[in-house]
Symmetry: C2
Subunit: 393 residues, 2 copies
């Protein structure tokens, strides 16, 4: 079967595997069961919307990784992973969503047959796609194995991006800029929200500069007025109204790499609280971006933001940023570092974050955000889109 | 805070809760922890893209359910659930994606404080959003509780749809018809796949008959040529080619209710195998739809399909259908029944399925599907869209 083209050189996959194995060895893990679709993709290239059934990549300390998934998805693995066909294992369809048998039961047989049944096995215990039933099945079927928590072990290896990854994120940045420009051009009182979403998704898929758009790991969030007090409401078919602010939290995506960017648009004359908050947020963001550089810590960046907005009498309990890159639904964050007090992770060149110093008040909200990467000397935003509250009066 | 309008009458939520509690009582479950976003929505109305952090609905045997989630998402709950504010509990942000503390640790304290710490607690053990770490946290923090597997307990209560639910699915059917019409109108050799996706997503969000489109739980799948041998590849920016078949597996969605429908389009003159397979599939589908009626079982429907295509020398290992309705990513199936051998669930009026007798061969594939509901006397498809292989030569 003809191989599709991989998104990265083989040497890059080899390097990723080497980095992961180094940490496995440090933690005494012989075999890693990788269930996070982003981690599966990052290690092997696997790309398909099949994560609604159980699947994983098995990474032993030697040899190529194994792809394990539903039988019918094995062809999708053959079309997307770098490994040879005999490293692709499908399970029978009567294991799918069955009350009598679990795909991890079948996997345990494979692990035994490979001689790994007495090993120390790392599992992503707190991953969306590794349910409590998965671990109970493995524990019951592999009584001689030792299970170690390897949540986010691979995610951490993804933190520093390669030049090719940065290139994909730059393409995603051009896409999200185009999406915001389209929103600003079209939004007006009386327009149904779902009709604006149609235009946003259209622009997202068309892409920019000749590079097509991929699906983002989160759908557009565009709450208006009092709904903007909540960060994660999606849309309905009500109409935009004058006298309301709406934040647009969206991302461009290219080959599964994301560049999120939020902007807020006020239709009509904004109340003073919007203008005051805009000023505080912009000042706080400038301080945070200034603090973001190699050698500084995640909490240093947050402290710079926090101190600056305190001057304006503003407080924000939740974290003000998280790492970004390759992702699948339901989250475009990498779930490792957080820009918040107590996170002493030291920043390195190539790390990429979404700085999201969102302000959600009791009956309104404002989001102005930037995605940025740590450079050798400081930080650089991915987007070149006006950083402001937009007003259409 | 002003309540947004609920998608259903309060009496419908009350009825859903009553049905769920009846099964809880039968199974000796005192408290149900509901982590599936579809189940959370179905029981309470909660609607937000916040399932990337831990959250749940607590359903005791008496009183209103409790919504539990991230502090910043509590406002989203206030905007969407039917319960009063004091049934909404947010956890502090330093529990989010932390390596030191887990949101289920915090929840255990709440369960203890409510006097439920010695109860029989049902958990959705094999749900995407109930990780192995969730159960380990609850087991460690609530040593006097008994944990029972309640996977799909709520999903099963969702099987028979109410008239209002059917109405939403009919609206979704109009949307997916419009999406397929748009595809057929536009697809041609030389068009980039992502550009066609832009049109599909645009039509999906615009909606039909004045009803706006919501996001589907799965993105459009549209593999061409050899890629169509795999069911779950998404898209890229390559161009459609003459001499290739493409299947379009898509769904219309309205207020989170889905109507999936797949069609295959061949650009150029189709090889005989496409035409032969089309005939077998259409015959098999007619037989399956004919067998689908109250009193028949899931496996009866599959057997009708299987016997019919066997006459054409065709076999299909994987199930040929699953229940549909309300859903969130990553799956628009309900994960209860399957149309496959061994599933003896008896069909009832109001149950809704996606009949997906897809044929994935070594180097090509064909999908022609229908969503249907069981009626008092038989079955009825949601869509009125030509059931055929389309050819654009």
């Amino acid at each position: 079967m003809t191989q599709v083209s991989l998104n990265f050189e083989r040497s890059e996959y080899a390097d990723r595997i080497t980095r992961t194995r180094r940490v496995m060895a440090e933690r005494g893990i012989d075999l890693l069961i990788v269930t996070d679709p982003s981690n599966m993709h990052w290690l092997t290239g696997y790309d398909g919307w099949s994560f609604y059934v159980h699947q994983c990549v098995l990474l032993p300390l030697d040899g190529d990784p194994l792809w394990y998934g539903r039988g019918q998805d094995a062809n999708g693995a053959r079309r997307t992973v770098f490994m040879a066909d005999d490293n692709i294992i499908g399970y029978p369809d009567h294991y799918v969503q069955s009350t009598e048998r679990h795909p991890m039961d079948f996997l345990s047989g494979i692990i035994e047959s490979k001689g790994w049944g007495r090993q120390a096995i790392g599992v992503e215990k707190d991953n969306y796609y590794f349910s409590a039933a998965c671990l109970d099945s493995l524990r019951a079927n592999l009584p001689n194995a030792t299970f170690k928590d390897a949540t986010a072990l691979v995610n951490w290896q993804r933190a520093v991006k390669s030049p090719r990854e940065i290139e994909y994120m730059n393409r995603a940045a051009r896409i999200v800029e185009a999406m915001h420009a389209r929103i600003l051009d079209l939004v007006e009182p009386g327009m149904r929200k779902n009709d604006l979403v149609a235009e946003i998704l259209h622009t997202a898929a068309r892409g920019a500069d000749g590079h097509g758009g991929d699906y983002a790991a989160i759908v557009p969030l565009l709450p208006s007025g009092i709904d903007a007090s909540a960060p994660h409401l999606t849309w309905d078919d009500r109409r935009f109204k004058s006298g309301e602010g709406t934040f647009f939290e969206i991302a461009g995506c290219h080959k599964r790499y994301h560049c999120p960017l939020s902007r807020t648009i006020y239709l009509g004359k904004p109340p003073q609280k919007f203008l005051d908050t805009e000023k505080a947020v912009l000042d706080g963001m400038a301080a945070a971006l200034d603090a973001a550089k190699p050698g500084a810590t995640c909490e240093d960046v947050e402290a710079a933001w926090r101190k600056t907005i305190a001057k304006y009498g503003l407080e924000k309990e939740s974290r003000c940023g998280y790492p970004i890159g390759l992702s699948y639904p339901p989250d475009w964050g990498e779930r490792t570092m957080s820009l918040r007090p107590g996170d002493k992770t030291v920043l390195e060149a190539g790390m990429c974050f979404h700085l999201i110093p969102a302000i959600w008040q009791d009956d309104w909200g404002l989001e102005i955000t930037e995605s940025f990467r740590i450079t050798d000397g400081g930080s650089e935003t991915f987007c070149r889109y006006p950083r402001q509250l937009f007003v259409k009066d």
